[in-house]
Symmetry: C2
């Protein structure tokens, strides 16, 4: 292990140069004009993995290719096999004018490098690649087999990943999946993320009169769909932040005392948080801390409202329709389809006979959880402690990573999320960046992780 | 009088041709490209009034010219003087594709003529012009002086009319103003409209986070402005259709038993009305009939809602803001400014500390009412009965005609609304039309009106 760490330290500045080279590809999966850039980026990655010493394959899919890179096969069969997931595609850089440096010309400023995709997700899986390089180049024996699966469509919904997992099921049989594609609260607060929220999206529309009506001639004698929408949606959430839909909480697994204790360790500064978000006061479900509210409790958000006239000035109409986009964040063991049904039924119940209701189901994603008391989780915590020098936190993430459930379903493999990014890295925003210290800690974490996991 | 009526009957088909000539001008005041068409239309009207025998002036304003056309001066001073208001400008014809016939190529189809502006308002004031022509051309003595005031900016808010009235105050001193710019329930239900609703417009905005937030990362711990907006607006109207704003009804003048009796004569077919509007059920303030709800009771309408993502699919955000456009229809003696203040104060009271509220005042217009028991009103009712052959209805209009208040304020003159149009004339919509029978009844009404009014 010391040889590995020495190698990592010695080649640090080359690794940074290589990461910048990787970030220079504008591998924006959402924009067709970048198709060739994605192909070039995949080619570069293949070559890089090969140079490291990995058996690397560029596997075509109906979308962008998936890169599979394995440590060289060892003789005995019973060695553990871990998977590492990453993605080489990035979010669109727009709006360009808000970037301090050019998004695809990675630029170091102090201890930080700016560039689109550098923390989400190129820098994070690159740290793992460099740790494995250190093992291979110093001829240090890895205590396990490793397979990197680096896809090119994460930012557009991993459209072809499930099929890929099915097709390559036998090669991807593994003991656990490691994903570093999220953030930890800080370098003094390394964290194992053992759960994710799910999501359920619905569009709600109310139709009243066949056309917008003159509010003078007809107003008072017919209902107003925008008012009805407000009244219906307004009832879905109580004053104490609870969601007012019958049976909505029925399947929610209770939080254990252990989990709440762990979550209470997540650093949280209310004043800083309010200032960062720009809100005058926080609001959330009574009886839960803000950290719990945003990660382990289900939510209802109105994502958008549309009705009638939205231009300058005013237009004296009764709008013919009003609609809203809703998303629910779900927690174990809520099921997206069941939640959508509950919502739809309740909306039907609330809807007066003066308008016509239609509810359209959008995308759904299941919540995810793995026991933080599993031996592999404990091994990961131990590696975190060694790499960062601080006691790690156990946390759950408020967002959704649908592919985690796909890995579980298709490959029956547990996922442990070991984020390397920091909260101010601006993923999906202008001025995305990655802290060099986070990169270095990440390489050290990865180097120490495999012996810990393999020893379970 | 018989000479006058004979003249009207004899020249009917010429009148229709002339009306079509008038409608052929695309005098769309909202569209700058039609400025010359407005000027041409005004010139035509001046010439036409002169041919009738009226002393006619084309009075320039800072906008489109106003046409003043007076019956020739008589010797003795104490003859009554009545004003007739009309407008030669029309609504934009768009969308063209919904017209059966070309909007500015008036086309007769059965007993109806189609064309933009034919009922709103060219055909209506033209009926009055033709009645006066009959008096003048047959040398029948008019029992009063008449002044036509026909403006060219009604459809863009009569921007220069108040100034015009002030400038020409002395020439416009009159005993009453007659406006035919609305509809009656049917030819068997002629009506005198003696009141109008006012209006008060407000824009409401709630600001939450400084930017749209990721609903996974932050959702649950901050409030959602769209939800707060729904909850605030939803409380403004109760289940029984009452407006839930303290003191909102304080200044509402109670309806007299006489008025309610009169309003109960307005024909109303609920099934037909629902079908015409396309609504599954009606809704309105409990304790009032639909006719009362839409004409003599104040209302609140949400005219538009705007928040967050409104495109295809879904976007998992907490929107940074949400806004609504509100208009209130007011009845005597509610004052627009006072109502806006009440609304703003109540919204402030309802607004939680988690969002920032801003309320912007829009336009306001006072309600209007003139006693339907004044002698001039009774005279008008008598003229209606003679012209249409049916008992006239007394009604109030749910819409607002702000200029009526300007005439009252500047000239201290009462307005009597004698609509000639019918409910299916499609003003402001494609396929605007005017019934030839309505045109004929209108000419006969005008012919009989002046002796009745002058005899008061």
């Amino acid at each position: 292990m010391e040889t590995v760490e020495t190698y990592l330290r010695k080649h640090e500045s080359r690794f940074i140069d290589e990461l910048c080279e990787y970030v220079r590809f504008p591998s924006v999966s959402a924009q067709p004009k970048h198709r060739q850039d994605l192909a070039n980026c995949a080619d570069w990655l293949v070559k890089h993995c090969q140079q490291i010493g990995l058996d690397t394959e560029r596997v075509p899919t109906d979308g962008n290719p998936v890169i599979l890179a394995r440590t060289p096969r060892r003789r005995h069969k019973n060695r553990p096999h871990f998977l590492i997931y990453g993605h080489y595609d990035v979010q669109p850089p727009e709006p360009f004018e808000l970037w301090t440096y050019s998004p695809f010309e990675p630029t170091r400023d102090g201890n930080v490098i700016y560039g689109r995709g550098i923390s989400d997700n190129k820098g994070q899986h690159f740290a793992h690649l460099k740790a494995v390089e250190a093992y291979l180049k110093t001829d240090t024996e890895l205590p396990c087999d490793l397979t990197f699966l680096i896809e090119g469509e994460e930012e557009v919904g991993s459209r072809h990943l499930t099929q890929f997992l099915k097709t390559h099921r036998s090669r991807l049989k593994g003991d656990a999946l490691i994903i570093s594609d999220n953030a930890i609260p800080g370098l003094k607060h390394p964290a194992l993320t053992y759960g994710l929220r799910g999501v359920a999206a619905l569009n709600v529309q109310l139709n009243g009169p066949a056309r917008d009506l003159h509010s003078g001639i007809y107003g008072g004698s017919v209902d107003n769909p925008a008012m009805v929408l407000c009244q219906m949606l307004g009832q879905l959430r109580s004053k104490n932040g609870r969601i007012n839909i019958p049976n909505f909480y029925r399947e929610v697994a209770p939080l254990t005392r252990y989990e709440r204790e762990q979550l209470s360790n997540v650093p949280f500064d209310e004043r800083h948080y309010k200032k960062f978000l720009g809100v005058p006061e926080l609001f959330g479900e009574k009886g839960y801390s803000p950290v719990e509210q945003r990660s382990v409790r289900p939510t209802l958000e109105i994502n958008g409202l549309t009705s009638g006239y939205q231009g300058e000035g005013s237009k004296t109409i009764i709008p013919s329709s009003a609609s809203a986009k809703l998303t629910f964040r779900l927690v174990p063991n809520q099921k997206p389809k069941a939640i959508m049904d509950l919502v739809k039924n309740h909306l039907k119940h609330l809807c007066p006979p003066t308008v016509r209701l239609s509810v359209e189901y959008g995308h759904g994603g299941e919540p995810y959880i793995v026991s933080p008391q599993k031996p592999l989780a404990k091994a990961a915590l131990s590696a975190l402690k060694q790499a960062y020098g601080y006691d790690p936190i156990l946390m759950r993430e408020g967002g959704s990573i649908p592919i985690v459930n796909e890995f579980k379903k298709v490959l029956n493999v547990d996922t442990f999320l070991l984020g390397l990014a920091l909260p101010d890295d601006n993923p999906h925003s202008p001025n995305e960046r990655f802290h060099l210290d986070a990169f270095k800690k990440g390489m050290r974490l990865s180097a120490g992780l495999w012996p810990e996991l393999a020893s379970v």
